[in-house]
């Protein structure tokens, strides 16, 4: 492991990359405002940079190189055309503040994306501006708050969140000034309706729900849930993390949700980029329309224009410096045009087929499903509690051993309700042979766990590093490289 800084040599430069020296360039800036020494950046050649980062890339697992069944993250193929076409020079050079007459092509794409997302979600209006799922959640809950406030209803200070929810749900509720109150789940993976009935009341601002839930099952009594929350005066928030399971089959708007966010980096196949960028557009029903974040795109005749605070005086405002992660929205638009309406319906169908096929096959091999009596959605949960108890091999050990066999691990230890769980989401873009190979390997690992458990608990062996010392990482913080002290 060599850092780019360790390849550095004084005064080596990639000289073509920067302009020529202009000696008098900053003579007008007083010395007191200038920095004393040069910042610590590497001094390397172009080839050194290219080779260093190419080699680093090769230490990653990615969709392009590995099966990546990371539950709840929808790691499906990111079509190359989306990147190529969103990177056309006239898209890349458009300044975000360019006047509308120099923006019609871009605005047309954004307007049509808004319209398509309205249709697939069953909502009445869409704002594309939130920059990730968590910002979409923020926007959604902030709109719920703005709605109650506008009605003079100030007593509502709680957001209800099922205990299976993503951590972003309760964190978002708090960021919006609410208390997060957890609602339990019953043994079949549905929200406990009696507990919900007992929890709702005049303090309920809303309920945040993912459907299908993070347990990999469809919330069957969604209409009753909606009725209970609405009867108490609360609003219903849809977390779009799992929209891939129902795209074109059933719509959150029809289920009774008042506000939703989508994760375009999941359902609409924009790149995950090693941890982002995402895009988290929000859609709303009639009640919340006045509160949508700005900007949005409108259409008059053949022309497109920005919709801003001026047009939406009750808007919760702006969440980004310009108009959100525009280039990601463009990639999602391209993906939607490539798929079309039939392609979108097939997404849900084959994502669900793949997950159910894997679930059935793994059960046949003796793995325990967390919800065996339920139909899997686009993902499902295997619990390794028996293996953990009898063989002392944990879900984390299985996950690490999978890496040795060339498979990215499923999501582990989430949702928190199911002990020793693997949340497996194959997505629709994987073929049967890949799923079969994964099933074989998971069985092989269990055989290893029975015969030589140390093999599994010591994994991985074939990656650039073995298991890392997380405790040391947090205790002896080393968050930036420092050059070795010069010898005295």
């Amino acid at each position: 492991m060599t850092l780019i800084f360790e390849r550095s040599a004084p005064a080596r430069r990639a000289a073509l990359q920067a302009p020529a020296e202009d000696a008098a360039a900053v003579a007008d800036i007083p010395a007191a405002l200038l920095r004393a020494g040069a910042p610590l950046l590497p001094e390397v050649s172009e080839l050194q940079v290219v080779r260093h980062y190419t080699r680093l890339s090769q230490k990653n697992f990615s969709i392009d190189t590995h099966f990546y069944p990371l539950g709840s993250c929808t790691m499906k193929y990111n079509p190359r055309a989306c990147n190529t076409l969103a990177s056309l020079p006239d898209f890349l050079r458009r300044h975000p503040l360019a006047p509308e007459r120099y923006s019609q092509g871009f605005l047309a794409c954004m307007y049509e994306l808004q319209e398509m997302l309205k249709e697939v979600t069953g909502m009445r209006a869409v704002s594309l501006t939130p920059m990730a799922g968590s910002q979409g959640e923020f926007a959604g809950v902030a709109m719920i708050r703005a709605y109650h406030t506008a009605r003079g209803d100030h007593a509502r200070d709680e957001i209800l969140v099922p205990d299976a929810a993503h951590g972003t749900n309760p964190a978002t509720a708090v960021m919006c000034g609410y208390k997060a109150r957890e609602i339990p789940t019953n043994a079949e993976g549905d929200v406990d309706l009696d507990a919900l009935r007992a929890a709702v009341g005049p303090r309920t601002a809303g309920l945040m729900l993912t459907n299908p839930s993070t347990l990999g099952v469809f919330e069957r009594r969604i209409e009753e849930i909606a009725a209970i929350v609405h009867a108490a005066g609360g609003l219903l928030y849809y977390d779009g993390a799992n929209l891939n399971a129902i795209l074109g089959k059933v719509r959150p708007g029809d289920m009774g949700f008042d506000v939703i966010h989508l994760n375009l980096h999941k359902t609409f196949s924009t790149p995950h980029g090693g941890g982002g960028p995402g895009a988290g557009p929000v859609g709303v029903g009639e009640k919340l329309k006045p509160f949508l974040p700005v900007p949005m795109v409108g259409k008059t005749g053949d022309g497109y224009h920005w919709i801003t605070e001026k047009d939406c005086p009750q808007s919760i405002g702006r969440l980004s410096a310009f108009a959100g992660n525009a280039g990601i929205l463009l990639r999602a638009y391209i993906y939607a045009r490539l798929l079309g309406r039939e392609g979108m319906r097939r997404v849900a169908e084959y994502a669900t087929l793949n997950a159910n096929y894997m679930a059935v096959r793994l059960r046949e091999r003796g793995f325990e499903l967390a919800f065996p009596r339920r139909r899997a959605t686009h993902e499902f949960i295997v619990t390794l509690r028996r293996e953990a108890k009898t063989l002392h091999v944990s879900a984390m050990d299985f996950a690490k051993r999978l890496l040795d066999y060339g498979f990215h691990a499923p999501t582990t230890y989430f949702p928190l309700l199911v002990p020793e769980c693997l949340l497996i989401e194959p997505t629709e873009t994987e073929d049967k042979a890949t799923l079969d190979a994964f099933i074989d390997v998971l069985s092989d690992i269990r055989a290893e766990a029975e015969a030589t458990p140390d093999t599994v608990t010591g994994a991985p062996y074939t990656l650039p590093v073995r298991r890392l010392d997380d405790v040391r990482a947090a205790r002896e913080l080393d968050l930036a490289w420092k050059p070795a002290a010069a010898p005295p």
Binding site: R93, E223, G275, D470
Partner: protein, 453 residues
Amino acid sequence: MPFIPHTESETAAMLEAIGIDGIEALFDEIPAGLRVPDIAAVPPGLSEMATARLLAERAAANGAPLCFIGAGAYEHHIPAAVWEIATRGEFYSAYTPYQAEASQGTLQLLYEYQTMMVGLTGLDVSNASLYDGASALAEAVLMAVRANRKSHSKRVLIPRTVNPVYRRVVQAIVSNQGIVVETLDFDPRSGALDPAALPADPGDFAALVVPQPNFFGVLEDVDRLTDWTHGHGALVIAVVNPTALALLKPPGAWGTQGADIACGEGQPLGVPLASGGPYFGFMCCKSEHVRQMPGRIIGRTVDLDGKPGFALTLQAREQHIRRSKATSNICTNQGLLVTAATIYMSLLGAEGLRRVASTSHANTRRLRDALCAIEGVAPVFTRPFFHEVVLRLDADVDRALERLADAGILGGYSLKREYPELGECLLVCATETKTPEDLRRYADACGRALARA
């Protein structure tokens, strides 16, 4: 089928394994009344060729004007290697490095990025990115209120010289938590905060935001502002342009103690303008505040064999562990953009980045001189500036911009709506990408536009 590999026989085999007749049976737990028959408003799918033609037409419809707008997004030359490498599938299609052993490439890159940002800002630690400059400032405000142990105040002071959209984003994000944002006015002569005019007894407050350069391009008196703030027990949040940091005094060296938090827009570091995103927000701070910092942080550690490696660390701050007690709800960040920025900073090095900064500055000064040679154009502020400058016109600024746009030139950002007291003012920027011919073209067109006004 688009992006679905299944053959008919494979699908049949899979259905048989499940024990159902057709795919529709997989949706039998969804109440029948909720099923949607069609999504007719979504158009039918297109071939890749037809989509490419459509997008090429859309891109061309934007036109390709000569752009002198900055105002928070800056056109710089991006070396070819930056996006060639950043869009390699191993970076482009990986996710958050939860499985550290299978993500050492991304993790090491992020550690190198953190090191570079620490170098540029002169602070101790960096996170692995936030969404953009505006939301990073909002997170910095929340962080400062949590981190200030001397004051329990929820009051934060933000000068009007901070980008007006940033101020609006801060308001939208922090107001629900009872934080009060108070604006400070600037000196209309200098275009900056006047440290001498700050109140001797400002009352209890958690932090002051100090932009450098500020939204007008003007350089603030950061040393005095920092010392004044610390003198009142509050924290200093620097909002800085990373290109400028190759030249300007880093926040860690402001005043006698240095700023406490620095944040800003990372776009100038190798990210194309691209209609405003995706960009990335950066955030650095003194080490004493690291546990209050939002977002992913990468640490160097060792593996079972004692070999060095990298992992996500301090995760006890984050939503997937702490849920409602997390420092922020942020989950996904802007990893791909940080990948590009790290490659960009490696290619340029300190000297290259300094030259980008100084050439951009010199170009803006040349543009200012060329425009101010025209009758009816004058500079506005007296303090020094960096690579962006405010000019006042003798004519209606919005009409002048329209005329320039007729000539294929985006002549800058009109300040009239956000700062009506300044009159007919324009914010212009000419980075290193502008040639002497470009500057002349603007000056000529501007002369004609004003002559007709």
